[in-house]
């Protein structure tokens, strides 16, 4: 559904994306994993057309992105930090988005609005909402139009455990419908139950994309975060210093 061909992007001194080639298919839940500044968000923004790549091209639903924004009607996007016009009311935001998308009312997916109980705050202006509540609104917006592709940037950061659970349930449900879901997160435990594939990025390069079972077998670790940590260490000799410091602290304590 999404094909990324040889994408490169440079921000002045930083090579944010370096020749990335990858293809995502229906029914996959892909976790984009990597250290901070490895280019995860830039890749997502390239797919959404917010960042224009220097080289390479991207096809969504078999059509190359070239200025025509129509392909975005099949994408639901939940940003890392959702900010909205201060004086706009929550209800108005949903009304506006429906107006823009021009989609028939029957196809709307209002499940998250109901489960997060957002109707009770429909009359509140956006500026009065807390960070977590905004996050809930962003999530509800992403799922609202029943899109075939969902892109979630740090979806559970800032949500309380209950809401985070609701969101995970919802993601699982959409996964069962055979949608393509792309998630970035640092909270690996959250991803564990959802993910089918792991895409690991470092310094703008894609190190690998593997099925989660394969990854477990290769590293011999059952827990996802341990498996990833093992790979992070292996791939990057510099991180060895962490072990040294940790060990030396332990040794000092012995004496």
């Amino acid at each position: 559904m999404i094909r990324i061909e040889n994408i490169s992007k440079r921000f002045k001194r930083l090579q944010a994306l370096d020749k990335i080639n990858v293809e995502f298919h229906k029914g996959q839940v892909i976790s984009l994993v990597g250290p901070n500044g490895s280019g995860k968000t830039t890749l997502i923004k390239c797919i959404l057309g917010m960042v224009k790549a220097d080289k390479g091209r991207i096809a969504v639903n078999n059509e190359y992105i070239n200025g025509n924004p129509c392909y975005k009607s099949d994408i639901g996007y939940m940003p890392q930090i959702g900010r909205y016009p201060d004086n706009m009311k929550v209800g108005q935001l949903f009304e506006m988005l429906q107006n823009i998308r021009n989609q028939s009312k029957e196809h709307l997916d209002k499940e998250l609005i109901e489960q997060f109980n957002l109707i009770t705050i429909f009359e509140k202006p956006m500026r009065t909402l807390s960070g977590g509540t905004r996050q809930k609104v962003s999530a509800a917006v992403a799922f609202l139009f029943n899109p075939g592709i969902l892109i979630l940037d740090e979806p559970t950061a800032g949500l309380d455990p209950l809401s985070s659970e609701i969101l995970k349930e919802k993601i699982l449900k959409e996964k069962a419908k055979g949608k393509l879901i792309l998630i970035t997160s640092h909270i690996l435990n959250d991803l564990e139950e959802l993910t089918t594939d792991i895409m690991y990025m470092q310094e703008g390069k894609m190190e690998f994309i593997k099925r989660i079972d394969t990854l477990r077998e290769e590293t011999g670790e059952l827990r996802l975060n341990k498996a990833i940590a093992k790979i992070m260490r292996r791939g990057n000799a510099d991180t060895g210093w962490i072990d040294k410091i940790l060990n030396s602290v332990k040794e000092e304590k012995k004496y």
């Binding site: 959404l48 917010m50 392909y71 940003p79 900010r83 909205y84 004086n87 706009m88 988005l97």
Partner: protein, 255 residues
């Protein structure tokens, strides 16, 4: 396009600054007309506010508003909407709200106290300058990602058009006072919308008789139909050119 600008407009109209701006203009114009016995004197004082204060408030407000709606623009970009449409909606939202304030604050008192050619030309100039400086503000904010830099550029533009430009013109006129400069100053006036507005209003007043030969030439030119056409045309260019440039830049920009 109107779908989106309706919500932007709604958001701006609820902004406290725009309400304060309207009240400020209203208080100013009413007190001018109350204090001065002679209506044309009041218009003259009002003209100075319209030519100097109004551009400053507009360019600052619009720049800050643009930066505050940055995340909102990001959200809109994740929707199936073209960049041109998003920027134009923002622009028309800002323009409509600022024009509304101007008409309530200055338009209504002028139409009550002095509904003649001078009054109308003041309103014409004021509305044209509103649009021009909104365009310039968009240009300043689109070309720089950094908020402080954007506001700096906007302020510099205002300084240039209200203070620096006049100094430059005086410098030229003094140094080349031996030559016939009437036609040349006409061209110079077109290069600054504030000056153009000032000349356009002044020549409708009796004071133009005090300006000697140049005044007579100007009156001959600006007083007639061609003068009106010239002013409208140049103002239109001042609105369109910065706006076109910002749209062009915005289409290629990384957000």
């Amino acid at each position: 396009m109107l779908k989106l600008s309706r919500y932007i407009l709604y958001d701006i109209l609820r902004n406290k600054i725009i309400i304060a701006y309207t009240l400020f203009l209203l208080a100013m114009s009413l007190s001018m007309f109350q204090m001065e016995g002679n209506n044309s004197k009041a218009i003259l004082s009002l003209m100075n506010i319209v030519l100097i204060m109004l551009p400053l408030i507009i360019i600052m407000f619009t720049t800050i508003h643009y930066y505050n709606s940055y995340e909102f623009i990001e959200l809109m970009l994740s929707q199936p909407m073209s960049r041109t449409r998003i920027l134009m909606s923002e622009y028309s939202g800002a323009c409509i709200s600022l024009l509304t304030s101007f008409f309530i604050g200055v338009g209504v008192p002028v139409l009550i106290y002095s509904p003649d050619t001078i009054g109308i030309s003041l309103l014409f100039t004021g509305s044209a300058l509103t649009l021009v400086f909104t365009s310039l503000a968009f240009f300043a904010s689109v070309i720089s990602r950094d908020k402080a830099k954007g506001i700096g550029i906007a302020l510099l533009l205002w300084f240039y058009f209200t203070l620096i430009y006049d100094g430059l013109v005086l410098l030229i006129l003094f140094n080349f006072s031996d030559y016939p400069l009437e036609k040349f100053t006409l061209v110079l006036s077109a290069l600054n919308p504030v000056d153009l507005g000032r000349i356009f209003i002044m020549l409708k007043m009796d004071v133009s008789a005090l300006m000697g030969y140049t005044g007579a030439l100007y009156k001959d030119f600006f007083g007639g139909f061609w003068g009106l056409l010239f002013t409208t045309g140049i103002m239109f260019l001042w609105i369109i050119v910065p706006l076109r440039l910002s749209v062009k830049y915005f289409r290629k920009k990384d957000l």
